[in-house]
């Protein structure tokens, strides 16, 4: 019997969506609501006295510090992360596999352990003899630790897939390595770098565990937003804490949407195929 391929395909497509289906969708929606949306709604609803809470000097200072440090960290990671990815992909040396594994360490190590060791290293009696505990530099070092993997891991796959033909062609035409990097490699890496930078920024702006021991909690000097919010909770100022959390949330959300947009733009060619 002749089978009409098109007729067969239509019902199949109608059936495939049953994977998941209404029950699955219900579970997903319910789970997300309980775990994520409900807590967020509570914060939005209970942030009282919004203007005062977010415009008082200590809050603004904490927010500023978090944003500036996160930006700095993101920029450092953009450079070092790309360099690291380059070395891991294009270079060969003994122990490279070990290094590749170790990159994820900040991700696997609990933040409080990172904080403890950073304090031991860079504190007043630390190994390095450099005392930056309770300073902004100390906080910066802690943030550099926890954000290290982000840019590396977003750039690596892109670099691996990159077609070397264009670079080799350019080299054979006499272009210098820096020019090749600047004009051929870098534009291809840029979306991935931006994606990693956005993730590093979002992580750094809210970081708590690794910072709480080394920052010293000095208002206006080393108090970051997350520690300030923690202090507000403990001072029975839940509405004030919620208000600043909303601001932080808004920033994180904006960063995430930006990452999503960058990803979509970067993969637009894949979709058009």
């Amino acid at each position: 019997m002749a089978v009409d391929a098109a007729a067969l395909r239509a019902p199949a497509r109608a059936r495939a969506p049953r994977l998941g289906g209404v029950v699955g969708g219900g579970i997903v929606a319910g789970y997300l609501s309980l775990i994520v949306l409900l807590p967020l709604a509570a914060i939005a609803a209970r942030s009282g006295n919004f203007r005062n809470a977010v415009t008082n000097r200590e809050a603004v200072s904490a927010l500023e510090l978090s944003l500036v440090l996160a930006l700095l960290v993101a920029l450092v990671n953009a450079v070092v992360g790309t360099a690291t990815a380059w070395v891991l992909v294009r270079d060969e040396f003994r122990g490279k596999r070990l290094v590749n594994t170790v990159i994820d360490l900040p991700f696997a190590l609990p933040t409080i352990v990172a904080g403890l060791t950073l304090l031991a290293l860079y504190g007043p009696r630390g190994w390095t003899g450099v005392d930056v505990a309770f300073t902004r530099t100390g906080v910066l070092l802690a943030l550099l630790f926890v954000t290290l993997p982000f840019v590396v891991r977003t750039v690596q796959p892109v670099l691996l897939e990159l077609d070397r033909d264009m670079e080799e062609a350019a080299a054979s035409l006499g272009a210098r390595p820096t020019a090749i990097f600047r004009r051929i490699v870098f534009p291809n890496l840029l979306p991935a770098i931006l994606s990693g930078v956005a993730l590093a920024f979002a992580r750094a702006v809210g970081e708590f565990g690794s910072v709480v021991l080394i920052s010293g909690n000095l208002p206006f000097k080393t108090e970051v937003a997350s520690v300030y919010i923690f202090g507000r909770i403990q001072s029975n100022d839940a509405p004030g804490a919620a208000a600043l959390s909303l601001v932080l949330l808004g920033i994180s959300f904006a960063v995430l949407l930006a990452v999503g947009a960058v990803r979509r733009w970067a993969t637009r060619h894949d979709r058009e195929a």
């Binding site: 360099a83 891991r153 995430l256």
Partner: protein
């Protein structure tokens, strides 16, 4: 040539300074006075309870997030519905949100004058709130790992199975699941690592009840604050060993594109 060597050296030096020295220090400080004090510190009843509590919380959070992760990935990749972009953002939100904010939200929900403050069992300052916080922070990982793989494999095989008469669940079990199992495994490793290492959110909701609501990470802070530096580092070593095991598992299950 010089450029390549100096780049390599520069990168390795940075990594050593930022990564390896801190971890080496954890081991050094722990065993500075010998193995015995460190062992004694991690085998006290409080420490043992902290260890089991940490595992208990992870044992609840990880399976739940895995099931959710797979279902959510299926929903995102295989279905059309309005607000998908929003769903993506909400799922990714825990990655960008400060853990302290998570703790605050739970306070607002389950504390006095909270929306759910009249529940018959203790939520805040007890295991349930710590589980909720841990689920929140480790939510995205399975989803994010499975989605690209699901996208890549496409629906061809699933459609073929459907035309051959396979039901939805059988199709999932025999066609989809085997294709995504390594992505799931990788996601599970990431989720577990995040659950065990959570500090900020559980710090807000735990109530610091030693022997009852202290996880391993909270124990590190507690020991440090009680002048028990060896104990703090010993607990850190346990966590560092778990981290190293996680790293090895991550290397094993890493998606092929990232392997150099």
């Amino acid at each position: 040539m010089i450029a390549r060597l100096s780049l390599r050296f520069g990168v390795l030096a940075y990594l050593a300074a930022i990564l390896l020295v801190p971890v080496g220090l954890v081991f050094w400080r722990t065993f500075e006075h010998g193995v015995h004090p460190a062992w004694a510190a991690v085998t006290t009843p409080d420490a043992q309870h902290a260890f089991w509590l940490t595992l208990e919380i992870a044992a609840i959070a990880v399976p739940l997030n895995t099931i959710f992760g797979v279902l959510c990935a299926l929903a995102i990749v295989r279905h059309r519905f309005p607000g998908k972009g929003l769903l993506n953002a909400v799922v990714d939100l825990p990655l960008a949100l400060s853990p302290v904010v998570v703790g605050l939200a739970l306070y607002l929900l389950y504390g006095r004058n909270g929306w759910f403050d009249a529940l018959p069992f203790q939520v805040l300052f007890a295991t349930p709130s710590m589980v909720l916080a841990t689920i929140f922070v480790s939510l995205p990982f399975v989803v994010r790992e499975v989605v690209p793989v699901l996208r890549e494999i496409g629906t061809d095989q699933e459609e073929a199975a459907a035309t051959l008469g396979a039901g939805a669940f059988a199709t999932f079990r025999r066609v989809t699941l085997p294709a995504i199992r390594w992505a799931i495994a990788y996601g599970v490793v990431l989720t577990t690592a995040r659950s065990i290492g959570e500090f900020g959110a559980v710090s807000v909701v735990s109530g610091r009840i030693s022997g009852k609501t202290e996880t391993l990470t909270l124990l590190v802070q507690d020991k440090y604050e009680s002048f028990d530096v060896t104990g703090a580092y010993a607990a850190s070593v346990v966590l560092a060993l778990i981290a190293i095991a996680t790293l090895l598992l991550m290397t094993m299950f890493r998606p092929r594109e990232e392997r150099t």
